[in-house]
């Protein structure tokens, strides 16, 4: 994208005189500004989303007063945070205290450079994209330890230490599950990984159930790996049930206890950037990234018809058991199905790959993360380690072996 942008800048006669390096620099600046804007806007939208999801799950309404349905509430909150005083405790380690949040933010923003938003929308097409994302995102722990230590507060210290132990422990199973996918594709390039998941095929190659060629449906081991990755990633981004570094009922606010104003907002920004990053990785690696779930125009029509039929039958089943259920999900799928059958252009659009599908998948994953957060209690720190080292790590190792054996049995790789 940077190359394309540079070429585009050079194509203007007035700007051509600038020369190649300057055009490159300019386009780099534009792209990084775009990514940062994406992260910032994304955080604002997601905070609103999270508040609404949590409120609806908790039989509340959530923010309702600023803007229609409270849609501007997070904007107002962001403005309030920017105006607040940036308090630095007297006994804090000032330099570390000041740069800690920035380290976390930078580490979580720069990872987006390698994320393919669509087949063309990609800042840097790296051949080691996956490796880059995983390695850069683990710098976050450095910032957390800096912030926690520099605050000179016992609660912050506890939060930082817990966080360091947790993130490092969960890096390992997460890395191993990603390696399983890399073993199938044979490349670390995220764009290549997405491209390998196009089209529609049978479930696990032999069960006659037409499903997209996503890696989650590629073989049973990768199916399991997707969930293991999701659990590990939840832990890595410190979300419930693994939110022990900032567990508010125990450690007040963990490593963020002493922060206020803008710097506190930066923690929030990076928290949601990380959540988004994880959602992107899950959808790229396991759910086909920007690929459409439908192979073609007819596939989209039939696919949505099946979804609607299932939804209607489920609703009728629940109603027959005299339980309360909303009809909104059925209604929405019915509307989409009708639109797909009545307007062929809509069906074509549904079947074509692009940013829409990418964002839909990301939104679903983020919703899942929120769903976890507003349902589960929190694990204790030693139980967290137990889950990591004694449950997830062995399973992911067995999974890696299983993927290799599966590949050998199905003849996708030969020795």
């Amino acid at each position: 994208m940077i190359q394309a942008l540079a070429n585009w800048i050079l194509s203007f006669d007035i700007l051509a005189g600038l020369g190649n390096p300057i055009a490159w620099g300019l386009s780099l600046f534009v792209v990084s500004a775009l990514i940062f804007a994406f992260v910032a806007v994304n955080a604002i939208v997601l905070v609103y989303f999270e508040r609404k999801v949590s409120a609806f799950m908790q039989v509340r309404l959530g923010p309702m007063r600023v803007g229609k349905f409270g849609s501007l509430q997070t904007v107002a909150d962001a403005l309030k945070l920017l105006q607040k005083e940036d308090i630095i405790p007297r006994s804090a380690d000032k330099i570390l205290f000041l740069i800690g949040p920035w380290v976390i933010l930078v580490a979580s923003v720069v990872t987006f450079a390698a994320i393919p938003f669509s087949d063309t929308l990609l800042a840097a097409n790296m051949n080691i994209g996956l490796f880059y994302v995983v390695s850069i995102s683990s710098i976050v722990v450095l910032g957390i330890v800096m912030a926690g230590w520099a605050s000179n507060n016992k609660w912050s210290l506890y939060g930082a230490m817990r966080s360091a132990a947790q993130i490092i422990s969960y890096e390992i199973p997460v890395g191993i599950t990603l390696i399983a996918v890399v073993a199938v594709v044979g490349s670390l390039n995220l764009q290549v990984i997405v491209q390998a998941q196009g089209g529609v095929g049978n479930l696990f190659h032999w069960i006659p159930l037409p499903l997209p060629n996503w890696f989650i449906f590629h073989n049973p081991f990768l199916f399991l790996a997707a969930f293991i990755y999701l659990i590990g990633a939840t832990a890595e981004i410190n979300r419930t049930p693994f939110d022990i570094p900032e567990s508010e009922s125990e450690l007040v606010a963990g490593f963020m206890t002493e922060y206020s104003g803008l710097r506190w907002a930066l923690f929030f920004l990076s928290e949601y950037a990380n959540a988004t990053l994880v959602a992107f990785l899950v959808s790229i690696v396991f759910l086909g990234g920007w690929q459409s779930p439908f192979a073609d125009y007819a596939g989209a029509q039939i696919g949505f018809l099946v979804i609607t039929l299932v939804a209607v039958m489920w609703t009728l089943y629940v109603k027959a058991k005299a339980q309360r259920l909303s009809i909104y999900p059925v209604g929405i799928s019915l509307v989409i199905t009708l639109a797909a059958w009545l307007f062929p252009g809509f069906a074509v659009w549904l079947a074509s790959p692009g940013l829409f599908w990418m964002l839909m998948k990301v939104a679903s994953i983020i919703f899942l993360l929120m769903w976890f957060r507003w349902t589960f209690p929190r694990l204790r720190v030693d139980q967290l380690m137990y889950v990591s080292w004694k449950v997830i790590l062995p399973i992911s190792l067995v999974n890696l072996m299983g993927v290799a054996v599966w590949m050998w049995l199905t003849g996708e790789i030969q020795f």
Binding site: Q58, T240, S249, E250, L251, T375, P377, R378, V381, D382
Partner: protein
């Protein structure tokens, strides 16, 4: 390179801390995450209830009783009213007794809902807390209907009630009880059976019956240790001997008898039992009767002293009232259950992690207003 110096760290938990249920301060001596000693520091919510009582007329003390245990104000008022009535030898009308039981048990449900919800909150589950508060609001609606207040009622007066219940109250209570069972099932689904919750609560902070009795622990926390003492059953006061209800005991279903999970689950089951009592009381409630007929014109108990016990939501609530024959009590001492329940925390919380100490504290269900008084 010198030897690494390692020592225990003193961690101040509170008085400003999200999980200390008010303004409790715990001085924790920690070795990493492990807590080796817990020292509760209380008194941040001291409002000198007992001194107030020495300067107020008997009836004027009632609102202050509710302010001690603000989550179970009806129970507190009931205990105080019974003490003074016993001194004066007042015979209450049947209807008053039934209504008092109904309100005390509704209050027990409301209080346990807070206990259950905040315990979930302490271990990180936010949503069940909101569900519990939704049901608590319904109970507070009933209280508001009857007394006009939602939290601090001053409804149970010496010798009767402030007002009779309004029309429609009984129907609304039945309606609440009918829905309540499904709500409890919901809590069990989202919290009680949850594997993470069980991991966090089962086997944590085991309180053996000996420890519980030595420290004077009462109420659900004692019964969770398997000790079958419920004043409603062992020394029935009011008209509790007329109702058929079980006393839930800790069984160690998910771990050891007397662990945090048992203390939690005893409360959940007590809510169901309270619902049973309310249902029976509503069925038998006498239609006729003036709730104010036995209210004495002048409250001047004869010279003497009395200790009256009742089973409040948190345990044995005792009032020791000394009268010198005047209209102002000479002394009112309150035996607060939460105070004794809190004192056990060092015994059962030692050697657990910081997170567990919070879970144990949550499972003891303390109210600082009652501890500090």
């Amino acid at each position: 390179m010198g030897r690494l110096h390692a020592e225990e760290m003193i961690l101040n938990m509170g008085p400003q801390h999200p999980s200390t249920h008010g303004v409790l301060r715990l001085k924790l001596r920690t070795d990493g995450e492990i807590v080796s000693h817990i020292e509760p520091v209380i008194g941040y919510l001291h409002r000198s209830f007992e001194k107030h009582a020495e300067n107020l007329e008997y009836q004027q003390v009632t609102p202050f009783c509710g302010r001690c245990d603000y989550l179970a104000a009806m129970g507190s008022e009931h205990g105080y009213a019974m003490a003074v009535e016993k001194m004066m030898g007042i015979e209450l009308p049947e209807r008053v007794e039934y209504l008092r039981v109904i309100f005390a048990e509704l209050q027990r449900i409301a209080s346990h809902l807070v206990a259950v919800g905040t315990f979930g909150l302490d271990v990180g589950a936010i949503t069940p807390f909101i569900y519990c508060f939704r049901e608590r609001e319904l109970i507070l609606d009933l209280f508001e209907m009857a007394s006009g207040a939602r939290l601090l009622y001053n409804y149970i007066w010496i010798g009767g009630l402030a007002h009779d219940i309004p029309p429609g109250f009984v129907e609304k209570t039945y309606e609440f009880l009918d829905n309540f069972d499904t709500r409890v099932a919901e809590y069990n689904q989202i919290l009680t059976g949850n594997k993470i919750f069980i991991e966090r609560a089962a086997d944590i902070g085991v309180m053996t019956p000996e420890v519980a009795i030595n420290y004077g622990v009462t109420g659900p926390s004692l019964r969770a240790s398997g000790v079958n003492i419920d004043i409603r059953r062992t020394q029935p006061y009011s008209i509790y001997d007329r109702f058929d209800f079980d006393v839930p005991l800790g069984e160690g279903a998910q771990g050891t008898v007397g662990d945090s999970w048992d203390r939690y689950y005893v409360r959940v089951r007590e809510m169901e039992e309270s619902a049973r009592i309310i249902r029976q009381a509503l069925d038998q409630l006498p239609v006729e009767g003036d709730v104010k007929s036995a209210i004495p014109r002048r409250i001047r108990p004869p010279k003497g002293e009395i200790y009256s016990r009742s089973e409040n939501a948190r345990g044995e609530l005792g009032y020791y009232v000394v009268s010198n024959g005047k209209n102002v009590p000479l002394r009112v001492k309150m035996r607060s259950p939460a105070f004794s329940n809190l004192s056990v925390i060092n015994e059962i919380g030692q050697g657990w992690m910081i997170s567990d100490v919070i879970a144990i504290l949550g499972s003891l269900d303390i109210v600082l207003g009652e501890i500090d008084r």
